[in-house]
């Protein structure tokens, strides 16, 4: 297949079974991925979302040639991950979450220099690129500190710098923010749109809904090794949530409003909360019904400070998908 298509990553019927043997040698098989089909266009930020054990890391490991599929195929920029692993490795960077995978006894700079040498980057370029990337992830000051003395967030930033050493057009990030405090996680997230802006294709796995919603232009939800839904975040929310949400800010609060609204057809739930001098009503409506007019009627147009109808959150959609 040509490397000239607009598809960066393609999985066809991708399956992976892990086998292990117990003490007496009996084999146990565990299906981690079954028949996964994915297509990621070049330049996309693609989110692979799913609960723990869904098969996200397995997918990333297959795509970065660390693991062979049991059946099915995966291609990166047209190169088969099994038979053209060399080309795949040259064109991808992988950033695995967690604290392992870096040399603790040597400095951040030395870690970078080691992986540069490993990847055949000539020494002069290696030096320049190391300095550039460490600066980019804010580690210049700690370049000469042994990595075992790094904080969790610093380690993760070094992981990112290492992943960018070869300036790969395709990046795989496996739960890059796991175990990182909110501010550190936000800093890490900022790199994602920046890298996409440089034209890189990014596959990001996460189990944080908000992260996927915020960063990705397409999301695939996987559950127990199978694709459960795929689409733009907004699309997934609309398609998979059986609810739509109307939020009303009422300037003259009334206690009975809740009960009156509940009487309307298609209203499933009403929550009321005080917002300063106002009352905020969050009305869950069966999707497909437009109740804005009826709500206005019940509350009284003159009492409404603001009325918006919004999509449900990704979390609401996600929970619906996984329940099935």
């Amino acid at each position: 297949m040509a490397a000239t298509t607009s598809i960066a990553v393609e999985c066809k019927d991708l399956s992976r079974t892990y086998s292990s043997r117990n003490v007496v040698g009996r084999r146990r098989d565990f299906v981690a991925l079954q028949g996964l089909n994915l297509e990621i266009p070049k330049g996309a930020i693609f989110g692979l979302l799913g609960p723990n054990g869904a098969g996200k890391t397995t997918t990333v490991r297959i795509l970065s040639t660390l693991l062979t599929p049991t059946s099915g195929t995966a291609r990166v920029l047209g190169y088969d991950v099994e038979t053209q692993a060399r080309q795949v490795r040259r064109n991808t960077g992988f950033i695995l979450g967690g604290e392992r995978g870096l040399y603790g006894r040597i400095t951040g700079e030395q870690n970078m220099r080691f992986f540069a040498a490993l990847n055949h980057i000539n020494p002069r370029d290696a030096k320049r690129r190391t300095a550039q990337l460490l600066d980019r992830v804010g580690l210049t000051e700690h370049a000469r500190t042994p990595v075992e003395n790094y904080s969790r967030g610093m380690t993760q930033r070094l992981h990112i710098a290492r992943g960018l050493l070869t300036d790969p057009p395709v990046l795989f990030m496996d739960e890059p923010t796991i175990g990182i405090d909110p501010i550190g996680a936000q800093e890490l997230r900022n790199y994602v749109p920046e890298l996409a802006g440089e034209g890189k294709t990014i596959l990001l796995t996460t189990h944080y809904m908000a992260e996927a919603d915020m960063l990705c232009d397409t999301i695939a939800i996987i559950d127990r090794g199978e694709l459960a839904a795929v689409g733009a975040p907004g699309e997934i929310k609309r398609r998979f949530s059986k609810l739509a949400i109307i939020e009303v800010i009422v300037n003259r609060p009334r206690e009975q409003l809740e009960a009156e609204l509940l009487k309307l057809d298609a209203v499933e739930r009403v929550e009321s909360a005080a917002e300063g001098p106002f009352q905020k009503l969050t009305i869950s409506v069966t999707s497909g019904f437009d109740l804005r007019e009826k709500v206005t009627e019940v509350v009284g147009a003159e009492n409404i400070e603001d009325l918006v109808s919004r999509d449900p959150t990704l979390e609401e959609a996600y929970i619906n998908i996984l329940k099935r």
């Binding site: 490991r61 970065s64 660390l66 693991l67 490795r89 040399y103 006894r105 040597i106 080691f114 490993l118």
Partner: protein
């Protein structure tokens, strides 16, 4: 080529956990001295028919594989355990260079340890160098260094597989102590076990090493030296083959990142 040395140096700095003063001096300089003294004394008091110099020379030569085997296996083990193996093998790095770069910096240790052992034997035990043929001695030391680095790299692959370095190192260095003629002369081993020595490193190297003290020229022990070289080359190739097979197997089983294979 620069990249090969950068790789060799950094992988050594990152993974060799005897790289601190107490551990380094202990294992490179003190352990051989203890071995030499211990065997020389037990040999003498157990009424061995062998000259006590036999043990001194044997153990001095043995110091080289000792540090190489224990050093290289611990690095491989550690690489697996800290999870960097996945990143090394997931890179487009040249496998042949990766494999040999794991031994480069250990080779000098093998040279230091035998040199200091001989120095110790000369100063404190009075080992006689008066008839020594130096070119033969140096050639045998270098070849032992080469063959034992190859052997240690080969054995080291199994430290990745079984995720342990103590058992592997103990077994490998035990084989060398028993069957290469450093303590027990090869032709006195029972049940043709002497032939085992022919496929192990050190056996022919140490034979040439002993001859060097008696003044044998390199030409006179040429067959020993060539044999040692050949053994080194064989282990080098065998080890590389095993390394590639382990890589293929790890990809198939999914054992790159997990600490179990």
């Amino acid at each position: 080529m620069t990249n090969f040395f950068v790789q060799s140096y950094l992988t050594y700095r990152a993974l060799f956990f005897w790289l601190n003063w107490p551990a380094y001096t202990g294992n490179v300089f003190l352990v051989p001295v203890l071995y030499i003294t211990m065997l020389m004394l037990t040999g003498r008091f157990a009424g061995s028919p062998l000259d006590s110099d036999y043990y001194t020379k044997g153990m001095a030569a043995y110091s080289t594989p000792f540090i190489l085997i224990w050093g290289i296996t611990q690095c491989n083990y550690y690489e697996r355990v800290i999870g960097t193996l996945a990143h090394v093998l997931g890179s487009s790095g040249n496998r042949w260079l990766i494999y040999w770069s794991r031994g480069t910096m250990h080779f000098p240790n093998g040279m230091f340890t035998v040199t200091s052992s001989l120095l110790f034997a000369w100063v404190f035990i009075g080992l006689d160098f008066s008839t020594t043929n130096w070119p033969t001695l140096i050639a045998s030391i270098l070849l032992i260094g080469f063959s034992c680095t190859s052997f240690a790299l080969c054995v080291g692959v199994f430290a990745i597989v079984v995720r342990d370095w103590l058992v592997i190192s103990a077994a490998a260095s035990g084989l060398l102590i028993l069957f290469t003629g450093v303590v027990v002369p090869v032709d006195e081993l029972p049940f043709h076990l002497g032939y085992l020595g022919d496929v192990l490193p050190l056996t022919h190297g140490v034979a040439a090493f002993r001859e060097a003290f008696l003044g044998a020229s390199p030409g006179a022990v040429g067959s020993h030296l060539l044999w040692e070289l050949a053994v080194g080359i064989c282990y080098g190739l065998l080890g590389y083959l095993c390394f590639r097979l382990v890589e293929v197997d790890a990809r198939r089983r999914g054992a790159y990142e997990t600490s179990i294979l």
